[in-house]
Symmetry: C2
């Protein structure tokens, strides 16, 4: 089942908004055996939108158009869809009532007049109420072409994807739909070509599975895809190859598919019965924030200290002022003391620390921007690594968090010092 996406909005073409919707739709469609074959982003210009929608209508069996359904004058998707499909806009009284009711519930006496436009739908379109906003989703069926029109606000789009799009696709797919299944093997701390060399023979003998390497900052994912195989065979082959890759890529391997690195760390901590604390300087909370993306993380995460200033390193983490002065805030010794301090003052089993120079200012010849120390202290010992990262402040902070998390995982697995 092949689907095209049209993402609409000047903010996308101006780069003010990153299109996260298309990826969210693609992930969800893949789960039901659907496949996005093309995404087109276009601005709010009605003529260009019309050109794109006409092309898509001539090419695709299924399409999703997203964005431009708001109540303000720059939202023109409804009109353009009506024009391209030759279906004039008519007022949907039911949707109007639903929107009015929403405003009442939010404590407004009256709905702003501009919101009436959101209850206008192309004739014959089916409107699906928006649980998180005021623009309903639209389903428009023609002979051989179905267009779904969704709002661009991610939360609203996602809810209407579930309520309006997936049921229609699942129904249409019936039982004989071709199945595309995939698995992803995640690694951290090794580069793309080095990993590809380690896995060369596995990749060469992967057929009929496809293998792709997906490098991200500080991480490489390996995606395995099975197309057109019977579901059971696809599953068995994917699992076997994923496990072979994971075994070969140890100690960089940390999980499969939707698992996050934070979840993998949480699982390992839970298995050891250990509780974690962090001490962060240059990352100032990014590590704690990432670790606690996992629901239920309070079971194995106690808290931490954001020791941004030297005073806090001394007063809250108990690092001696003379040591700080002797070694500097960005040093192996201070990082080690931060990890130990986090364990002690929080009363945790494991301490994880980051201190570095994220820049763009504050560097020196001896300690340049990008110099970072990451440390982990456990009941079994401590390890500190010195790293030098290129790139922006954001890059350096992000890579520091990833490195600390990779070290944390390996230390909790009892593999500290690997790589």
């Amino acid at each position: 089942m092949e689907i095209e996406i049209v993402a609409i909005g000047n903010e996308l073409l101006l780069g003010e908004t990153v299109d996260t919707n298309s990826a969210a739709v693609a992930r969800r469609l893949a789960e039901i055996g659907g496949r996005v074959v093309r995404v087109t982003m276009v601005g709010d210009d009605p003529e260009r939108m019309a050109v794109v929608l006409r092309e898509v209508r001539g090419r695709a069996r299924w399409a999703i158009a997203m964005g431009g359904l708001g109540p303000t004058g720059d939202d023109r998707t409804r009109q353009v869809v009506a024009e391209v499909l030759g279906r004039p806009l008519v007022l949907d009284e039911e949707q109007l009532e639903i929107v009015k009711e929403k405003f009442r519930r939010f404590g407004y006496d009256e709905m702003p007049a501009s919101n009436v436009s959101q209850a206008m739908v192309p004739r014959g379109a089916r409107a699906v109420a928006n649980p998180h906003g005021t623009a309903p989703g639209l389903v428009i069926e023609e002979e051989g072409f179905t267009l779904f029109v969704l709002p661009g606000v991610p939360k609203e789009m996602e809810a209407l994807l579930e309520d309006a799009v997936l049921p229609a696709l699942i129904e249409a797919a019936g039982k004989g739909a071709p199945v595309v299944e995939s698995r992803v093997v995640h690694t951290v701390g090794i580069g793309e070509s080095a990993l590809a060399e380690k896995l060369e023979d596995l990749v060469e003998s992967a057929d009929p599975l496809e293998v792709a390497f997906l490098p991200r900052t500080g991480q490489v994912d390996v995606r395995l895809t099975a197309a057109g195989l019977p579901a059971e065979e696809a599953g068995a082959r994917l699992t076997a190859l994923a496990e072979a890759i994971a075994g070969r890529a140890r100690p960089w391997f940390w999980g499969y598919d939707d698992t996050t690195l934070a979840e993998a760390i949480g699982e390992t901590l839970r298995a050891r019965g250990w509780v974690l604390a962090v001490a962060e300087s240059c990352t100032a909370g990014l590590l704690g924030g990432e670790i606690t993306t996992v629901p239920g993380s309070s079971e194995w995460f106690a808290g931490g200290v954001l020791a941004y200033s030297d005073e806090v390193k001394t007063s809250l983490l108990g690092i001696a002022g003379e040591d700080l002065a002797a070694y500097g805030a960005v040093s192996e010794e201070t990082c080690r003391a931060m990890a130990a301090g986090a364990r002690k003052v929080i009363g945790a089993d494991v301490g994880c620390a980051i201190t570095g120079i994220a820049g763009p200012g504050g560097g020196s010849e001896e300690k340049p921007v990008g110099l970072v120390f990451c440390g982990v202290a456990t009941p079994e010992g401590a390890e500190v690594r010195r790293l030098t990262y290129p790139g922006s402040r954001e890059d350096i902070r992000r890579r520091s968090v990833l490195t600390a998390m990779g070290m944390l995982l390996r230390a909790c697995r009892g593999e500290g010092g690997a790589s």
Copy 2:
């Protein structure tokens, strides 16, 4: 100057990677008066890639293709470009030497053989060395069509955008290029239609400027665009309207254009000579991490406590155990004590605290998932707000951070309690 983008990679169409590159390119092009008019995402399938590239070649004067230049077998952009433009691949000896040298510098004896493919370029193409990776950028000029081919890794893409794409576009633009200028006015804490109503008369009389509302989670941006006006007039009109909107939208207004909310807070703290500390429970560092995205934030940010467990709220923030037991960790009283505690234990002027139930578990009838308290304590007083947010754990944590930052900004401006 109108440009099309083609973003290539199965990972984009599978939703495993969000296409941040197109937005980055669009922002940079806008700065030199360029305009992205369409973005097409397509997978690694050579036939579909060829179809898209042929369409773009027939339609656009300028195009940038990104992705699929890696050393592994699923990277096919080079071959498809060669085929579509009718230019066979030839070895670029100079690029091969550059890549070999890189591997030597990284301490490898030899370049992996697969990297040779990265020095193959379509005949007549100009290769531009990649400072952050091994795949060079390509510039291919035809009569009436120029194609830039860039790697998909963001850092590499951005460097080659500067080195290969912008100089060519700027040169071609010459002096008579049409200028599109825009300004963005940022707000936090007010909804799209409420804001649109407050600004209705300003929007109606904006012509020849265009006004668009860009809602994001917890924030609404207003974008003003001037197309085709002389630069000086465009600048003056944009500034006048932006300032009028900012005045009308006070207290929700926080900045223009590339300013971030964290920068606005930093500026206000600096102006007051105040230093900030945070105390975070459910957000566990996201507030600290966001605040310190600003270079030089150590001037006005000292640190904080991630008080995820109740023990840490007591031991590090000095909240009395009986108060915690009486009111609960998620309560107005505890939030107030956390903000005050952050000020005191860190020795800061301002304390900002967040405590809540981010879910999906841990809610009760009295204290449901999504219940959050945000608090700010300054030398001038303290304020705590109780909020209830819908959505996922991620949504709730993100909105909590935004609300706390909005309160922080207003408190530091001496407008605490507004809205």
